[in-house]
Symmetry: C2
Subunit: 427 residues, 2 copies
């Protein structure tokens, strides 16, 4: 088929009419389909249902004798610390296991560094206007945390190897008010790329102008490969250690997309010394995490390899969904020259770039036809996609049939918005 860019006004107008008729048919169906968030499906959650009953009325003690029903313990029971440590290739004293939300761990660590400083140094908030580097497109909830704390966000381009490291190195070394950077190093949200070894090494060797600069390494999809290839990234904590920056990185991981999204366990990993600092603060802040839920996870998965076997089951469910996205986008849009998209090997998203200036219109059209997407722009700081082109597709939750229908509506919206754009340019 001819690309839209090669058509004249008459051809485009004819196609527009056709597309509008087609789109109105979609609207009339009055569907309600949701692709807004990276949410596991019922089928995935059910992989873990045995965890609901895996403790017995006599099974509540951790390896070290701790009664998980009672108070006590601030950073996780030994068995769950070991599982995270093994998965991340760290030692248990480099790991703090928390409650059900790694987002809460991130929020908390930004909050504390703002108000009390990094390792009890000068609070960020008393030093001037705090800034974070935000590789974009990125994860909207990272940006929401920055917004909440009035942190200026500086977008940095992200490519196939990770963030543009020349820019990162330059900015970080020049500006002492740049205090952090958000990274999703494996199956980046939303672009799905995996940071290259070289990128990770350059992160570890950063020479920040601020000695209280921190890398927020949100390894949210650390075990979330779609294929059995298991993309591996270098161990940022070890590399930072070797580069003489042992305390520069906080790594986050979680079982939200391993066990139950709303009732899992989260993990903060960092240097032993950082963990000691954080533990001290936690004793003022909380009675400690829910140890029974940690024990449930330990009983169910047994060990790190149990987690990896389980992730294979997730992959089996997710592969057809990601394949469907790829198939539909290719067959509907592949020849039209109006879009690009990612074909990730893991994670939860497909990142879609329309023609410049079309993303909001596409999301709006989709909403009209009952397909909810992550708001256009959400993948950029302050919701501001300068090219208005990036859309995050979250294909994991809907059943295949619904997903197919949602994708067809999406593609119809993309085509319509693109034709409108070409026509507007011509007139």
């Amino acid at each position: 088929m001819k690309q839209y860019s090669q058509m004249n006004i008459a051809e485009l107008s004819a196609i527009k009419n056709e597309l509008e008729i087609n789109f109105n048919r979609h609207k009339e169906k009055g569907k309600k389909l949701n692709m807004t968030r990276g949410v596991p499906s019922d089928e995935q959650l059910s992989l873990c249902n045995e965890m609901l009953t895996c403790l017995s009325v006599n099974d509540y003690k951790a390896l070290n004798g701790t009664d998980c029903r009672n108070y006590g313990g601030i950073d996780g029971i030994p068995e769950i610390k070991k599982i995270f440590a093994d998965l991340l290739d760290l030692t248990p004293d480099e790991v703090i296991v928390g409650g059900n939300s790694s987002l809460a761990l991130m929020f908390d660590n930004v909050a504390v560094n703002m108000s009390h400083g990094v390792r009890d140094g000068q609070p960020w908030q008393t030093q001037g206007q705090v800034k974070f580097l935000c590789p974009s497109p990125g994860y909207d909830r990272h940006f929401t945390i920055c917004n909440y704390f009035h942190i200026d966000m500086i977008p940095v381009a992200i490519g196939n190897d990770g963030p543009d490291m020349n820019t990162v190195e330059k900015l970080v070394s020049e500006d002492p008010m740049i205090k952090g950077i958000w990274c999703v190093p494996k199956f980046s949200n939303p672009t799905g790329i995996v940071y290259s070894d070289e990128t990770v090494k350059r992160f570890a060797k950063l020479k920040p102008a601020a000695n209280d600069f921190r890398i927020y390494w949100d390894n949210a999809y650390a075990f979330h490969d779609l294929e059995n290839t298991n993309a591996s990234i270098p161990n940022i904590i070890r590399l930072c250690e070797e580069s003489g920056n042992p305390n520069m990185v906080y790594q986050f991981a979680s079982f939200s997309k391993v066990s139950f999204a709303g009732a899992s366990v989260s993990c903060l990993a960092s240097s032993k010394s950082n963990c000691e600092h954080i533990r001290k603060r936690l004793t003022a802040q909380t009675i400690g995490p829910d140890k029974l839920n940690q024990l449930r996870h330990a009983r169910f998965f047994k060990d790190a390899s149990g987690v990896m076997i389980h992730m294979g089951k997730h992959a089996k469910i997710l592969r057809p969904k990601f394949k469907l996205v790829s198939d539909v986008l290719r067959s509907e849009l592949g020849s039209l020259g109006i879009a690009q998209w990612s074909e990730p090997a893991g994670g939860y998203f497909v990142s879609f770039d329309s023609l410049d200036g079309c993303a909001k219109r596409i999301a709006d059209l989709c909403a009209q036809a009952g397909v909810a997407l992550t708001p256009a722009g959400a993948t950029f700081p302050n919701g501001n996609d300068p090219n208005d082109r990036n859309i995050r597709i979250a294909p994991t939750c809907p059943p295949l049939d619904d997903l197919k229908e949602a994708l067809e509506i999406f593609c119809a919206a993309v085509k319509l918005a693109s034709v409108e754009k070409f026509l507007a340019r011509m007139q």
Copy 2:
């Protein structure tokens, strides 16, 4: 027996010798007994063991259809909100149910008011030196939160009816930098008193100089009566509403000493409008509480009356322990004129006042004989008991036999420290 105060040096010296011999015997036994914290006993925790298995592999949906395994929902599933609302005589929209730690809810609300202000007003931390009133003796972990945020703590005396309200009213109305007060209105930690109706009414009618003053109403022992009398206190949230101060109070409650101390659910109750503000912030902060654990609690207790019936079982276990404390203290110390203590009708503590200047010595002697007490002074801001006399006894955790032994050692320490004090005064 003669009171120590009426003895001469020779009599006291003779008694001191006897006491030292007796005390050394205790030391030689090398016991390890812990009365430091208000921790439920194994027997109490076991009352809830069925909660470990009360969900089935098909039982994970809340009343409103929410899949509790998945993401979604920020302030609690309907059934658990209703239980807390019924227990506290509020409506569900005045209640936010969180994770396993009400301490975390308190810390969080102080943190946010410091950094972002009350209801998005001017942050406390930008207004000058923030101060909190601290009825003392009080709960050490409240004071730890203030310490963490560099909040000045002003001790206020607490009597049988609650804090000295003349002082509270005067200070709060005069000083706009007084931003909060910590209250444990029912079975106060550690004194065990219940605020009188009049005290609660005066709290609701406070006329603070600061319009962002807040009462932190930690109703930690709301359902924790030892007898069936069920001491009731007026509804502070309704009273504040009636007094035209609808947003002045945050109430906290939890099931830490109802179900599993380390794996329960916590609750923040406040005006509907305050709850709306807090919900908005929570969406930036967390993916939401563990809804499966909330569902477990709802399934196990069924409703508010189920909670109250369960609390009767706790009371049955705790009554003999509190009676033992009372009996041993009376028989060992009752006639000596060297101590006073509380006889609470609920809660988790007995508050003990030695002769002035003896508390640290008593705790030190106890430690030598293997009995760990809450550090002397801990019940006052900055660990500074101006009279060095208050000791918090936590009798709930040890089995009766251990408790008896610990109390005997404690009384021996009290006697020895008191004799030493009298002798020191005479010499």
